[in-house]
């Protein structure tokens, strides 16, 4: 039964992703994406990775997507943008990406379908994850902090003038 739930989540994740990437309205797309992420979070949970599931919800669907929402709202693309998007997505523009993706899909199926094995069934608890993270991966955490610093500084520098200008008007 739970297995069925797992597969349902997988299907939802896929469907929502496809929907997200083909919408013309950015906000709608984002909502689909969040749905997809939540579905993946369910999969994480069911596979015995509750900590990852939680983070997926909190940070991915929560924080990162919200960042998107902010930006979309700030840009205020509106109906004109939607019409343009629809025009861009018209007929012919699908062909090349579609065929490329189809080829890649084929190969992915060939490769990944070849993998044998099952998930272990044993859950990896948040404690274990924490132990690992601050054990062997301690330095990774430190470096990740530097990475975030870099992202922060970059985002600050790039976003700063925009915000200031907006404030002026």
């Amino acid at each position: 039964m739970i297995v069925v739930l797992f597969y349902i989540a997988a299907v939802i994740a896929l469907a929502a992703t496809v929907a997200a990437l083909t919408r013309t309205n950015a906000t709608h797309a984002l909502i689909y994406l969040i749905v997809s992420l939540l579905a993946v979070a369910v999969m994480f949970f069911l596979m015995g990775a509750p900590f990852a599931a939680a983070l997926e919800v909190v940070i991915y669907a929560g924080a990162i997507m919200v960042l998107f929402v902010f930006v979309i709202m700030m840009l205020n693309l509106g109906a004109a943008g939607e019409a343009r998007e629809r025009q861009w997505l018209a007929g012919r523009s699908w062909f090349v990406p579609g065929s490329m993706a189809a080829l890649l899909l084929l190969e992915m199926l060939l490769v990944l379908g070849d993998a044998h094995g099952v998930t272990s069934g044993t859950a990896v608890s948040p404690k274990v994850v924490g132990m690992t993270l601050f054990g062997p991966y301690l330095l990774a955490v430190e470096i990740a902090s530097m990475l975030l610093l870099s992202g922060l500084v970059g985002a600050y520098h790039l976003g700063r003038r925009f915000i200031v200008r907006r404030g002026d008007h």
Partner: protein
């Protein structure tokens, strides 16, 4: 210091000084140096000759070893025997007379200094040619005289035609020279030396008469001789070479240089004796040349061209002599020819000099009384040329015809041909005399030759007459000629034929009993004369065969066809550049697409036949 060294050295030094003076030397000094050095040289030759005649000893002199690589060590060395003495005497003796003559002839020319420089250089080179003890040094002189001939033919360089004539002379002879060089390589490779005397000894021991190698070697040497001596098929340069000053024609293109081929064959007769086939070819070439040139001479109207063709023809006799094995007769004719042809050229030069550089004989006439000295010279010269009895030319030509007659099998044919030539010689030489010196005057001379011109003329007149009695010291040089049983009827015919020629010339050109116009009225005859006039159309033929294709190829290739290959590579690279640049269209989605394509391909390759 050995006076032998002085003989070529004096003209050489004089030439060097004259060249280095770059034309700033006063005329008097230049001409004094020019003629004087040859005079001194001639004096030395005379001393040498007298001592040689006294003791008959062959003189050898080595100056230094030119180079020495392994067994190959040619020297700068002289070998002087009777033949050399004869040649040296002719070169310096006649050379001196012509130099003397030139002083007056060239006095007004702005480049007198250059003229004498070239002339002296020529004499030096010619002396080296005849004195060389090895073929390499001979080749040096051989090419040296070629260069001087080029320089002097093109002496009046402002006229491009003269330049063309000079180039033609050099290049055509160079073709022969190249064959000769190949002959030298062959001799060196096979016999291991180029020293003439050891070479002949070695050839005699290593080769049998009639072997392929001696035939090949002598044929190649013959190529050189044919080129230099303007024989068929390389004779076309000589008539054009008349573009140079007339004394040059006298010295180089009549008396000395053009006979170098004869000298070469005579010098290396030992090799030729081993190659009867070549020797026969020499005879036939000589015969063919003498006839063709004689016919051509009949049709010319330029005084110098007539003489030029006659020169070719006379050298044909010399070749004939060599071909039938009468080396000494060949040399004898060479000497007498040098006398009378130099005389004729100088006399012609005097005519030209006195008639404002007029060359066309039909614009001359009646000069008999106006230029008496020249007239006398011309008559004597022509008589000798036509081999009228008791002139020098008679003795030498007679000897040749006799030798030809007495040869087995082909002898009579050669003799008959030679006789025909003699007839023609009589006609064209006296045609010249009658047209130029008799009849009415068409151009008035504006001056008379001075003593510097007349003196040499008179001296040469004497030589042309008495030259036949000179005994050349050739006894030890060539193998003793078999004494031929003298056939008197043959001798009489030899005497009669030139006279017949004289008579015909008189009837046609002076007496008028035979109308030339009537003869020429037949279209065939007209065409024939035109054909002869153009020198049997050899020039046109060669133009078509060699010159035009060469120029066409050069023109076709002038922009470097090989570059097409490299330009192709360049074009391919540029093509590749442009093709690849199409990908760089600046669109992000496109870049992403290509990346995905890359990934797809990468995975495809990895998964193909994946285990």
């Amino acid at each position: 210091m050995n006076s032998i060294v002085l003989i070529p050295l004096l003209p050489l030094l004089s030439a060097a000084v004259l060249i280095l003076s770059t034309g700033k030397m006063p005329r008097t000094v230049a001409s004094l140096m020019g003629a004087g050095s040859i005079g001194l040289s001639a004096l030395c030759v005379a001393l040498l000759a007298s001592s040689f005649l006294a003791d008959g000893e062959i003189r050898e002199l080595t100056l230094w070893t030119w180079m020495s690589i392994g067994d190959f060590s040619p020297r700068i060395a002289f070998y002087i025997d009777g033949l050399t003495i004869v040649m040296m005497s002719v070169i310096t003796g006649i050379g001196f007379l012509i130099h003397l003559y030139s002083i007056e002839f060239m006095w007004d020319d702005e480049s007198l200094c250059r003229y004498f420089a070239y002339m002296n250089l020529f004499v030096a080179a010619m002396l080296l040619l005849v004195m060389a003890d090895n073929l390499l040094l001979l080749y040096l002189g051989w090419e040296g005289v070629g260069l001087c001939s080029y320089l002097l033919v093109g002496f009046w360089y402002r006229d491009p035609d003269n330049g063309a004539a000079a180039r033609k002379a050099f290049i055509v002879t160079r073709i022969g020279d190249t064959a000769m060089a190949l002959g030298l390589f062959l001799l060196l490779t096979e016999l291991g030396t180029l020293d003439i005397q050891p070479l002949m000894v070695a050839a005699n021991t290593q080769w049998q008469t009639g072997d392929t190698l001696p035939v090949l070697a002598t044929a190649l040497l013959l190529g050189g001789a044919v080129g230099k001596s303007a024989q068929l098929p390389l004779h076309t340069w000589l008539p054009d070479a008349m573009a140079g000053p007339t004394p040059v024609s006298a010295l180089i293109h009549a008396a000395t240089m053009v006979t170098a081929g004869v000298y070469l064959i005579a010098r290396t007769y030992g090799l030729f004796l081993l190659a009867p086939a070549t020797l026969e070819a020499v005879a036939w070439i000589g015969l063919a040349t003498l006839l063709i040139a004689a016919f051509a001479a009949l049709a010319q109207n330029d005084i110098k061209r007539i003489l030029a063709y006659s020169t070719i023809s006379q050298i044909g006799y010399m070749f004939l002599a060599l071909g039938v094995g009468a080396f000494a007769s060949g040399i004898f004719h060479l000497v007498t020819h040098a006398f009378f042809k130099a005389l004729l050229f100088l006399a012609a030069g005097a005519v030209i000099h006195c008639l404002h550089h007029e060359h066309n004989i039909f614009r001359m006439g009646g000069l008999r009384s106006r230029l008496p000295v020249v007239f006398a010279s011309f008559v004597i010269g022509s008589a000798a040329l036509a081999a009228l009895p008791f002139t020098s030319g008679f003795y030498s030509k007679d000897a040749i015809l006799l030798a030809a007659w007495s040869l087995q099998d082909i002898g009579p044919w050669l003799w008959a041909g030679g006789l025909l030539g003699a007839l023609l010689t009589g006609i064209y030489s006296f045609r010249l005399v009658f047209i130029v010196f008799f009849g009415e005057a068409r151009t008035e001379p504006d001056r008379q030759p001075g003593w510097k011109m007349a003196g040499p003329l008179i001296l040469l007149c004497v030589l042309s007459i008495v030259g036949g009695w000179i005994a050349l010291p050739l006894a030890g040089v060539f193998p003793a000629a078999e004494s031929h049983p003298v056939n008197h009827s043959v001798e009489w015919i030899s005497i009669g034929v030139p006279l017949l020629g004289l008579l015909l010339a008189y009837l046609m050109f002076l007496g008028g009993q035979i109308s030339v116009d009537k003869l020429l009225s037949a279209p065939m005859a007209r065409r024939l004369v035109d054909f002869w006039f153009s020198g049997w159309r050899f020039d046109q033929l060669y133009d078509l065969l060699w010159v035009k294709p060469y120029k066409a190829i050069a023109h076709w290739w002038r922009n470097e066809p090989v570059d097409a290959l490299y330009n192709g590579i360049v074009a391919a690279s540029q093509w590749g550049h442009r093709r690849l640049l199409i990908l760089q269209n600046g669109e992000l989605r496109w870049y992403a697409t290509i990346m995905v394509l890359g990934l797809v391909l990468l995975l495809a390759v990895m998964l193909r036949n994946a285990p």
